[in-house]
Symmetry: C2
Subunit: 289 residues, 2 copies
């Protein structure tokens, strides 16, 4: 595979991009865009003075502001990289102030957001997106230029976006190094409930079963399985809240499968247990890494 | 921390070690001992001709044999590194043939084994051990000299071992680079059910919930959480079979906690969810890496 840097890349059609919210994702979007589009001016809005200082010190962006509208002023495109529960209101505020601005986001749930904005003026400017990349670490200090390389960027159009905004957002997300996948918001949420939200909850579940005295005996298996459980509790509470129905279905599905496992182990049915484990193994081995 | 290689290490009191079963663990035991005790002669027993050829090609051991008794003949110590369900009978056979031999093992469950050998002549020679290290990869081709570095090696004495065998096995396991932890077999099994076996089953559970079509959208969270689910299904079936009672308790405990989570999510109780997630985060962050 050719490296990202050596791939041909057309000149960007936008000259200035605002990052609204400078955490791990917002910071990584900025660094990835700077790498591919060095001529584009980057601004950011961050609430904490420490984050604003860090963003300038590390040259993550060119200018920092305290408010979203100050950061977005004069920009062609703004990425909303806040927790999911703040995206809808920020989108409506910025769309109202800047009618030419292309808006996109990094929210990990999409259905509620798309439904909330449907029929509003902002739906014409807003291209819902979810870059599937992250880490159990949070904060701009962990931002990385390569976070999105070859990672899926899911775009979930509401159908109300103007074509020029879809084109601008797609070009922008491609420049982060990710690969674009397009699907309806509901399909995205049902899929992510199973590929991301439920695994996170099961990881936390596994971590919760041990006492501190047992930590001395954990091995790489426990460490891998529970890695994401170290993620930010507020962030994940917001994700679960936004995607509650799909997550409840996923919990119910896994609970039923756990019942099956319990019965198999209780009965000492080794053949059934081998098949149960082997199905998981086949799926895991089909994944790329 | 000083590197393993630079730590002072007394001369080994054994001159020849047999590895019975050359998979990932047996091969890694051999490589780690060769690194620290280069003068010790290493033999191995492996059933497949391919593994025997690989062991000589990679200089994992000095000599290979088709049968356990041929490998152990003339040795001071033998490590039984087969699947758990074969350890008891191999221990009895080798103890019967070689009354001076120190025997130890790598089995990841200990209670059933200790109970099975209690009161037999072999219990005097056998020092039950479990090095807590591994990988989702299996086979001697993945063996590594540093697999046990700073990893816990749990020794679960039955109380019937002769002191010289305990001393020899402890010295041996220290030479692999691991750190010795001693506890009763039942405590080991109850702990490992929660720190290793249940996490493995929850990892498999997470992997089983997605379809192949969804694999394109998995991120690093899913990949980490499900990593161990790629492990060998036969090996894990044997582990569950050997530690059934403790694993059933662990499943029941996690099922009850999953019920709690389901209620919290269903009620939309964000404060309770944040606390539930934060408990997991605190435990995970207390782990070393």
């Amino acid at each position: 595979m050719a490296s990202i840097e050596s791939s041909p890349m057309p000149e960007p059609s936008c000259r200035s991009v605002a990052i609204i919210g400078l955490g791990l994702l917002g910071g990584s979007v900025a660094l990835s865009i700077r790498r591919r589009w060095p001529s584009v001016r980057l601004t950011a809005c961050a609430r904490s003075p420490e984050t604003r200082a860090l963003a300038l010190d590390r040259s993550i962006v060119d200018e920092v502001f305290e408010t979203p509208d100050a950061a977005a002023n004069g920009c062609d495109l703004a990425v909303i990289a806040t927790p999911v529960n703040r995206i809808a209101s920020l989108t409506q505020t910025l769309a109202g102030q800047f009618p030419e601005l292309t808006l996109t986001d990094v929210g990990s749930t999409k259905g509620g957001l798309v439904r909330e904005l449907l029929g509003t003026a902002s739906a014409k400017q807003f291209v819902p997106a979810h870059p599937i990349a992250g880490s159990e670490k949070s904060g701009a200090e962990h931002a990385r230029a390569d976070l999105f390389d070859d990672k899926p960027i899911v775009i979930t159009p509401s159908g109300e976006e103007l074509p020029q905004h879809v084109a601008a957002a797609t070009e922008f997300w491609r420049a982060t190094g990710g690969r674009i996948v397009t699907m309806p918001a509901e399909q995205h949420d049902a899929t992510l409930a199973l590929t991301s939200h439920l695994p996170h909850l099961l990881s936390s579940l596994a971590a919760r079963q041990i006492t501190r005295e047992m930590l001395d005996l954990v091995g790489t298996g426990w460490l891998d399985t529970t890695r994401v459980a170290a993620g930010d509790a507020d962030l994940w509470t917001a994700i679960v809240s936004e995607n509650r129905d799909a997550i409840l279905s996923a919990i119910e599905q896994s609970r039923s499968d756990l019942d099956t496992l319990q019965t198999i182990v209780n009965q000492g049915d080794d053949a059934a247990l081998r098949t149960w484990l082997d199905t998981a193994k086949q799926i895991r081995q089909s994944a790329q890494t």
